[in-house]
Symmetry: C2
Subunit: 478 residues, 2 copies
């Protein structure tokens, strides 16, 4: 059930979700297309009739995608007298990329600073001119779903902690110290919001107690490097400690009394606090988090998939019985920045053939897969990194590396042609009956006509019907 | 109501939506971190203990973000014996951008070609390492919402019609002919799927007739240039014509008999068909589409906001009474490619003070705003474009253009510093009490602590309560 609805409210779709306001911005100068025809020396009518264009607006070097979006958002808020405090989702559909990592959405968070509202979901979404529609659909879905008031703590903020403005480089610009501070403060904020929401929910259910780390069976994190994750568990314990009115009665906090008056925002680089809380949380870390670091420890930072690699690590190392019914806390963080702390509830049924049993079984070979990899000498690794740096953006490029070292079933780049078009092929998988080559030709014709029947998708079952093919891990405590 | 549910099904959230399967891919080679410490000449333990990293996987030049995603998706499908025909949504969260326009998702559509399933929502979503979580949330919302089986025709396909692989350029690579073909075939496919879905819905309601353009009060399109939109209306009429079993009885088709046996996929560049159907559809175009081209004609291609500029154009030029209760068809297209045809239903209440009245009123100054712009000579326009080309990616850059020409209330770029960090300020708006300068400093500290109460957002009203602040334009025919 959503955190703040009365218990007896029907969990039904809101009706008639749609567009209630629309703000449009365009620049203040334009070029006349009839004049431009003359200037360009083309036939009269080429633009004005052939394209049907009378005037064309353009931006000077004073405007970029961030400024355009800030303008139109602020105009919308002002024109309709909306409160920044009431916005729960904001997503940007754009194909104007000026940073390969930091979203326009995080820049827009500058507009919300005065209100203090940072609990706003959504980032950027991209595919040419379709992005706006994707964002509209995502917004409608969000309002119709339980997410609008879901059990999540989200914190988004404009920060230049780690970003990729150099479009030719595969590497980021990083402000190391700011990055740590942003990460920890985002964790503080997200955990605080999450804790308050679940506390309110428990209150309604007649359960009057605070939420703590103990209420997570497992706690997994975005894992750029494992040490940060240990520090994160310690950080959450610090949050619990400062939140606990009766902390002197709790044995886990013994020896920490000296820190009773610290403020979170003063402690990002406080080594005494860090050391003390890492020590105090080491058992919690071992129980709830350590196993989740398998993939991160063995493979390194996987960026967007990092925290899901942590989830896979947990599922690969515990039995269905150990996982059944547990609450898994998940902290996801992206620089620039966007972060959410949410929870997954593992289903109860751990019997053979259950959905939980199946997902566990599908990951049981994770360790052996990691161990089956090939160790490469550092100098060869360095050569590979140099080769990528030098070639990743080239046209008319044929990769030099062997395909024999790839796992079976792996797709690989065959070549990049003179127009930057990429062709792929696949190393045959053990599942293949035939050699799977040559699927990789660039397709320039439309696919064979196949009109799906309107009922092609498995129809959604009404709530009163038998339990559908169940989710194994559901989205929190609705 | 969704297209294929029985009429008596309760429109409620499915329960326990979550993760039922998880596939992870990592490359087959790694470098040992203890060895790398020696090779890099750093202290022993810097990586293995300081970061907690034992091994680090890496990719050769044979793998890129497309191949990684294709591998993991195909592995997931195979390991769990999933049918490509049953997938309704696929979204990619990544911060690895190798094309500024064409999403990884469209590359993944290569995997679906054999099945013929192209009706798969979702594109890419980006903000550093948070993208995977954004995609998970969007997927959960989609399943919980009416979108899972909504009245939409979506068509996604891998194509290199228009894309931006040159990371330093603001301009795309375009295959003009392929682009037109892709656009028209996407329109054919989307309209066909949409029409079949609404036909099935009508059948269930006892309404046995085909859907045609006439059933749209307005039909708006992604509008890169106005001529294409005229051709699009003609294209939809061609679709209606070929779909009509009794076309000889319909006067709108008189004179078109010769085209009775054409196949859609043979006519993309058939000038006779184009000419004949543009003529036959000109009245439909005038009634349902022409007004939507105001912004496009006056401002040019707005990319992701193009079709919403078309929506604004309609709302700005018709009265609440003329719009109330109408069905607005919307065709959104993004190269690479992703497209959807969906519909918006305008609310019935057109009285003063109604939500419809308010949104119309908010857009009534659209024409005058467009007319208030400044006309700039072509040579000045060309200089501005050159300036942008030369400077849009520079560091330590201070824009040269005047801010005086900007509309009031417009945000603008103050400078780009030596670390690519961008600072903005705003031209005061008429609404401002005080001069709004200097908000633009780069924020490197966390915002003031503000913990929102759990009930800060307007709680979702139960379906049985009074009509909430209504959507003006709702998401189709649920």
């Amino acid at each position: 059930m959503p955190g703040s609805l009365p218990l007896n409210a029907e969990a039904c779709w809101p009706k008639d979700v749609g567009i209630v306001a629309l703000e449009i911005y365009f620049p203040s100068q334009y070029v006349d297309q009839a004049e431009l025809e003359k200037y360009d020396g083309v036939d009269a009518g080429k633009y004005t009739i052939g394209l049907g264009q009378a005037k064309m607006g353009f931006c000077t070097d004073r405007e970029d995608i961030n400024s355009l979006c800030m303008t139109v958002v602020q105009n919308l808020m002002e024109r309709h007298s909306l409160s920044y405090d009431c916005i729960g989702r904001l997503e940007v559909g754009t194909e104007t990329i000026i940073d390969k990592s930091k979203s326009v959405k995080t820049n827009l968070m500058q507009l919300f600073e005065e209100s203090g509202n940072t609990d706003i979901e959504g980032i950027d979404t991209t595919n040419a001119c379709y992005g706006g529609t994707a964002a509209v659909f995502n917004a409608v879905n969000w309002i119709e779903s339980s997410s609008w008031d879901g059990l999540r703590g989200t914190h988004m903020q404009h920060a230049y902690d780690f970003y990729k403005p150099d479009m030719l480089s595969e590497y980021p610009i990083v402000d190391g110290k700011l990055s740590i501070q942003c990460y920890l403060s985002a964790l503080d904020r997200c955990y605080s919001v999450y804790r308050k929401k679940i506390y309110a929910q428990w209150q309604k259910e007649g359960n009057d107690r605070d939420f703590t780390l103990n209420d997570f069976g497992f706690m997994i994190f975005h894992s750029p490097y494992c040490k940060l994750v240990q520090k994160s568990v310690a950080r959450m314990l610090l949050n619990d400690f400062l939140n606990d009115q009766n902390r002197d009665k709790n044995s886990i906090y013994s020896g920490l009394e000296a820190f009773g008056d610290v403020k979170l925002e003063d402690t990002y680089f406080d080594r005494d606090v860090e050391k003390a809380f890492m020590k105090a949380s080491s058992e919690l870390f071992n129980q709830k988090t350590k196993a989740s670091l398998l993939v991160s420890n063995q493979n390194g930072n996987m960026y967007t998939s990092s925290v899901y690699g942590s989830l896979a690590s947990v599922l690969a190392q515990y039995s269905p019985q150990q996982l059944a019914g547990k609450r898994i806390g998940v902290f996801s963080y992206g620089s620039g920045l966007a972060a959410t702390l949410y929870s997954l509830k593992v289903t109860q049924d751990a019997t053979p053939g259950s959905a939980l049993d199946k997902i566990i079984a599908s990951l049981c070979d994770l360790k052996s897969r990691l161990d089956s990899r090939t160790c490469v000498a550092p100098d060869v690794f360095a050569e590979n990194m140099k080769l990528r740096e030098d070639t990743h953006h080239l046209v008319s490029y044929i990769p030099q590396s062997s395909i024999d070292s790839l796992f079976e079933g792996t797709w690989y780049l065959v070549r990049v042609d003179e127009k930057h078009r990429r062709t792929y092929a696949r190393r045959p998988s053990p599942n293949d009956d035939t050699l799977d080559e040559g699927v990789g030709l660039v397709h320039s014709s439309t696919a064979t006509e196949h009109i799906p029947s309107p009922a092609k998708k498995v129809p959604r079952l009404p709530a009163t019907a038998a339990e559908p093919e169940a989710a194994v891990i559901s989205n929190g405590e609705h």
